[in-house]
């Protein structure tokens, strides 16, 4: 009996689920006048967690290869600004604006990837530089202002345009108003990442590189190409998140996404992905997303003051991760 229990507890999925259940229990206890039981609360918790979840998927892919991507917050802002510029100010159709925006994100990922894989610069430093650079580019595009439906005219006045249809489409709901479209996008990104990591040859290469890069190289794994792909896909997913962010704010904000990279890392780590590389999975990252998302929502509906939220979140992140290192 004890052996079965030990085996269950040793499974990373169990420990992550326990963390999620603990958070949900917190919601049951502190249900804020029953707000926790309303469907709207859950639909909104998923909505607000979706952008972080998409970033978490990309981050998981990169961390599994033994790297890290600190630039996701800044690239999110850059894509958000570029997408808004094309869609709102220039009036380009979505069929043109979306692929270009995705390409911008992938290109940033490619730069980070080549700095890491070809030039062998440590991922922390390479993506730190990209984080600073991309933030600068986002501000350069707009001169520091936000791209909103108020379009500045040469004479200093403003012309108001409609919010583009693609923005409204992304920020809408489906399933009788019970599921946000951004949550659907998040789940699609999760499915894509899962397929790449668990079902595709690249996924096995990624785990091998993260586990022991030298051994992987000697076994014939194309390390440089595989690592590049991790960062390019992460950049692509970051671009998806940036488009969702712009749609949900109805504007492109060059200051958006500040600190999002840390939340993405927290999601991946709570989900059991080891920062050393070689361990982790998208399914677990999804559970990590729910854990952080619900914790945030429960603190929000209970109107917990900011200082308390920061401390509680820090404590719970540590507790969730401690619970994992036990069973190693």
């Amino acid at each position: 009996m004890t052996e079965i229990r030990q085996r269950i507890l040793a499974d990373p999925a169990t420990r992550v689920l326990m963390a999620l259940l603990a958070v949900l229990l917190l919601g049951v206890i502190f249900s804020a006048d029953g707000a926790f039981y309303r469907l709207a609360t859950h639909r909104d918790a998923l909505r607000q967690a979706s952008v972080y979840g998409i970033l978490g998927c990309g981050m998981t892919l990169v961390i599994v290869t033994g790297g890290i991507d600190l630039a996701v917050g800044s690239v999110l802002a850059l894509v958000s600004v570029v997408f808004s510029l094309m869609s709102i100010w220039w009036g380009w159709p979505a069929i043109v604006a979306v692929p270009i925006s995705l390409a911008v994100g992938a290109a940033c990922g490619a730069v980070s990837g080549s700095l890491t894989a070809y030039f062998r610069i440590q991922p922390f430093i390479a993506t730190l530089a990209m984080m600073v650079f991309a933030r600068g580019m986002a501000k350069a595009v707009t001169g520091g202002a936000k791209i909103s439906p108020a379009v500045p005219q040469p004479d200093g006045s403003y012309q108001y345009v409609d919010v583009p249809a693609i923005f409204r489409a992304i920020d809408s709901r489906t399933l009788f108003d019970n599921l946000s479209i951004v949550t659907v996008i998040f789940l699609l990104c999760g499915a894509l990442s899962w397929a790449l990591l668990s079902r595709h040859r690249w996924g096995r290469q990624a785990y091998a590189i993260g586990g022991n890069e030298e051994a992987a190289r000697l076994s014939g794994v194309p390390v440089v190409r595989a690592k590049m792909l991790a960062y390019v896909i992460c950049g692509f997913l970051t671009a998806v998140a940036g488009i969702c962010q712009a749609a949900q704010e109805q504007q492109g904000d060059p200051e958006a996404g500040a600190g999002y990279e840390l939340t993405a890392i927290a999601i991946a780590v709570i989900g059991g992905t080891s920062l050393m590389g070689g361990r982790g999975g998208i399914g677990l990252t999804l559970i990590g997303t729910l854990t952080i998302g619900y914790l945030d929502k429960i603190l929000s509906i209970n109107a917990v003051p900011e200082a308390g939220r920061l401390m509680l979140t820090g404590v719970i992140v540590v507790a969730a991760v401690l619970g994992q290192s036990r069973g190693r």
Partner: protein, 329 residues
Amino acid sequence: MSDVSRFHKIAPVMALAAALWAAGCGSGEPAREASSRGGQGKYTIGMSQCNLGEPWRVQMNADLREAAAKHPDIEIIFKDAQNDTLRQRAHIEEFVSAGVDLIIVSPKESQPLTEPVARAYAGGIPVIVLDRAVLGDQFTTFIGADNRLVGRAAGEWIKTKLGGKGRVVELKGLMTSPPAQDRNRGFREAIEGSGIEVVFEADMKWLEADARKEMESALARYPKIDLVYAHNDPGAHGAYLAAKAAGREGEIVFVGIDALPQEGVAYVVQGILDATFQYPTGAAEAIDAAMKILRNETVEKQITLGSRIFTRENVEQGGAPLSQGAGAP
């Protein structure tokens, strides 16, 4: 060790140094804004802005440029401290050693900037402090709006709008910053003793996405909300989007602060906000004061800026000014 692996060990350090240098490079270079060419009889003004991340400060610099353009005999050098106090201290010292005729500074924090400003002032360079004050009185003049008055005016308007009673959600800016504290305090002072009840409040840190998230929580918890008071217009806009998604935007009044032309005022024109209160940048007043000082005229030690309110009724006329004592208890 071989040369190749030595390179691989040094390269990260070089890359880090390059990245940090590039990041720090921008603010140190002065952006010369010459109103006209030629050095004779021209005054040089050094302007240190605490950051250009906030749209309101981008607007302040734009307003300064516009006001300065009307005076061909002044030239402003703009520096961006990127929200770094030490960098802002360096700006003041750089201006002093460059021998500018006047310094305008919008400080990030009061305490660390007080001494550098005092030294510049004692050395004979007039200093105009804009928006956030330094301590003491070792400067020429302080020009700023009063966030507490703005908060109070908002509270008074809300009291009138709701007929003295109602359920209000307050979405606060970063409560460790004085503007948010003042906008909160002024509002609470104005509604004290009335039937206005703040049923839900949260710190949305001036961010639209956070405001939307908090408003969703409020909507889930309270079936009846009459009004949302947000400390800035992006926050009010985020709350509006949340209410719209819940189909409840028609029954809620939305009030914001800042009234930037492309943001708050635009939202009032589009029918998203019911009212916004201007937090003026004070740029025009600063240039006026600068011209007076450079001509050796006296200026008041403290110039408190008035505010304007923009509502659906008066936005076409450019809003209405609030009297200085608006909402005073």
